[in-house]
Amino acid sequence: MRDTPFRLAVIGTGAAARILHVPGALASPHVTIAALVDSVPARARQLARNFGLSPLIASDINAIVGAVDGALICTPNESHCPIAVALLERGIPCLVDKPLATTIEDGERMCRAAESAGKVLAVGYTTLYRDEVWLLKQILDERRFGRVRRFHFQEGTIGGWAPVSGYTVSRAASGGGVLTVVGVHFLDRMLFWFGYPDWCSLVDDSQGGPEAMCLARVRYGSGADAFDGTILLSKTFTLKPGLVVETDQGRIIFPIGTSPLYFVPHDASGFVTILSPTERRYPLEKTTAQLQIENFVAACRGLAPPMADGRRGLLAVRLLDELYGRRKALAEPWRDIAGAAA
């Protein structure tokens, strides 16, 4: 990479900026934080103070034109589109936190804005910056353990991530509930590993607000090669997080975090095989936030394609839209206290 540091603007200075993106940018020798933009400038100033930075502080993106080489947008989901389109129209490349947008129309607008400006539009799927994600893709493509028979992914915590604005618990601001806020990371990887599903369905516990738990089902292919997948997500109870892919020969287990992949054969031999890459493209000493920013910088400089570009991000938005379109309400018989008492 070139020696001149990339001048990054961080748009939105809430929890994601504080915990992930600003530390990720500061850890990179290729990046300098040139601007912090927030509708509440005092929040941006506080963030700058906390990290000992003196960037341009602004409440309006017009103030950063000419002063930055690219922008990282980590604002509530509903604002991704207007901010990104405005920046792209001013010639500023954008890295947008996941999901790309809350509607397909917004996502399309963003992609078109990037394409007509000839600027990078990347989507922040930090979980892609793990070599095991790519190793699993290779294993699946090569049918190393036979055909895929089915898979199950789950992730559940009681509460968790608390953005300053609280947008994650507002359907209007986030575009959905746990499926959007947490699940879209997996949906993106699922699209990468298996492609776009041929069929999908969703059951969730929304009663008008964002769903706190959901079960999505997907189906791939037909005939002997057909397989199903399930995605169970919760923000109200804990689930040991990870993915299990059942193949002809056994189960591939992919826990979340920095764990390797494991293969457990059907023959119950008592052995598991640890599947690790022979070489790491994404060194573990760097956070995924740092790796993501460095990929964005490389993309802006024409040195590498963005890990997830706008069109790829749009695919996940389309799947979210399809899942919510087929949504059915979870039956909750336990809510009938009088009936339970009887």
Binding site: R150, H152, G159, Q207, G208, G209, T230, F237
Partner: protein, 392 residues
């Protein structure tokens, strides 16, 4: 009745908010420190306000105009003690008609005496424990009551019911084989379904008498840990009965903390652990290096003697045999006191809305539906839950 509910996104707070939200005679203001845990409330579009209970002006504004206050907050010592103090002061200033506070049976300690069957039993929590903090809170509420605030203190045990982490954890331990029935499972179990507790809070808001003394709230007396284990057996996936073990396996005599000693503190200051930390400072690192060179120059015997004087003899930690019974609920069974709910019946007119059996049946249904128990993907979910690799 206009109620300010603090800690509205917790397990109890959410259940209470859902119950109160269905009542036409209640105007409700829900407060929480943040949105992170607000998912259960948010799914129905419930409006929530964030608050820092350590900010007196914010709390005063929140309580202003409210006739009743319920405190379900949890958090660090600052929230528990300073936050409660601010809440009590604001409630008094706003002349609220009733302040309902949640205590815990933990105030009676990990090994409560038989007298703890009744609220008047001696409260002797372990120093520095959660119970000690809750006892301090009770005393603060009692002082506020002496100054004229009408207070009710409810004292629940472990809280069960739909969404209960306690019951989920016991189930996980039963499945893992780490849970055992101590003394055949005959020891006393105190548990309250979250709906019963929320019902008790509703009663406490309007109870004619409020004496600011603890009131036990449980699903009723006479339950044992075997009752809980058997209620969870349909979900346990065990092919053999839960192990039964004697109580002595879990009786601990905690090591008394060492008495303060200037000599020990000085030795600690020059110990290798502390010096390692000090060496991060370049000046102190040079000083340390110089001292070590000086000692080394004095010869091996002197160096050894000095090390022995500072660090003591070489210690080798015993490595005990592995035990399968690692569940924290094994030792908890030794509490073995049934907390009676006579006062709740008398003062609040409390009668559980859900029996223990109904509570557990409801939990099982919730668990099956939300966790996919018995669904086609359940074997994969279980494979993930149970998968572990011994560290190399």
């Amino acid at each position: 009745m206009k109620i300010a509910l603090f800690g509205a996104t917790g397990f109890v707070g959410t259940t209470l908010a859902e119950r109160l939200g269905r009542r036409a005679d209640v105007e409700l203001r829900l407060f929480s420190r943040g949105f992170g845990n607000a998912w259960r409330l948010a799914r129905s579009g419930t409006t929530l306000e964030t608050i820092d209970v350590l900010n007196p002006a914010d709390v005063e504004r929140a309580v202003s105009g409210c006739t009743h206050v319920v405190n379900c907050t949890r958090g660090g010592p600052d929230v528990m003690i300073k936050g409660l103090d601010i809440l009590l002061r604001a409630s008094r200033a706003a002349r609220v008609q009733r302040f309902v506070h949640l205590s815990s049976v933990a105030v009676y300690g990990e090994s409560p005496p038989p007298e703890a069957a009744h609220e008047s039993g001696p409260a002797r929590p372990e120093p520095g424990s959660y119970g000690a903090e809750k006892l301090l809170q009770d005393q603060m509420v009692q002082r506020a009551a002496e100054k004229g605030l009408s207070c009710v203190i409810l004292c629940p045990p472990n809280i069960s019911g739909v969404y209960s982490s306690f019951v989920c954890n016991v189930l996980a331990d039963i499945r893992a084989g780490s849970f055992a029935l101590v003394e055949g499972g005959r020891l006393a179990l105190n548990v309250v379904d979250v709906e019963n507790l929320a019902h008790a809070i509703e009663l406490a808001l309007v109870a004619p008498r409020a004496d600011a003394q603890r009131i036990f709230v449980t699903d009723g007396e006479g339950l044992t840990w075997r009752d809980l284990a058997e209620a969870l057996l349909p979900l346990s996936e065990r092919d053999r009965p839960i192990d039964e073990v004697p109580a002595h396996l879990f009786r601990r005599s905690p090591e008394p903390p060492p008495k303060p000693s200037l000599f020990r503190s000085l030795k600690h200051l020059v110990s290798s652990d502390v010096r390692e930390a000090l060496r991060r400072d370049p000046l102190l690192a040079r000083l340390d290096k110089g001292m070590r060179q000086l000692v080394a120059a004095a010869g091996g015997r002197i160096e050894d003697s000095l090390r022995h004087a500072i660090e003591g003899p070489i210690k080798v930690r015993q490595v005990p045999d592995r035990t399968p019974y690692t569940s924290r609920y094994n030792a908890m069974q030794l509490r073995n006191v049934h907390h009676h709910i006579d006062r709740a019946r008398e003062l609040l007119g409390y009668k559980p809305v859900l029996s223990f059996q109904a509570s557990m049946a409801r939990f099982r249904t919730w668990y099956e539906v939300t966790h996919g128990y018995g669904e086609d993907f359940w074997p994969l979910a279980r494979a993930l839950e149970t998968f572990k690799v011994e560290p190399v």
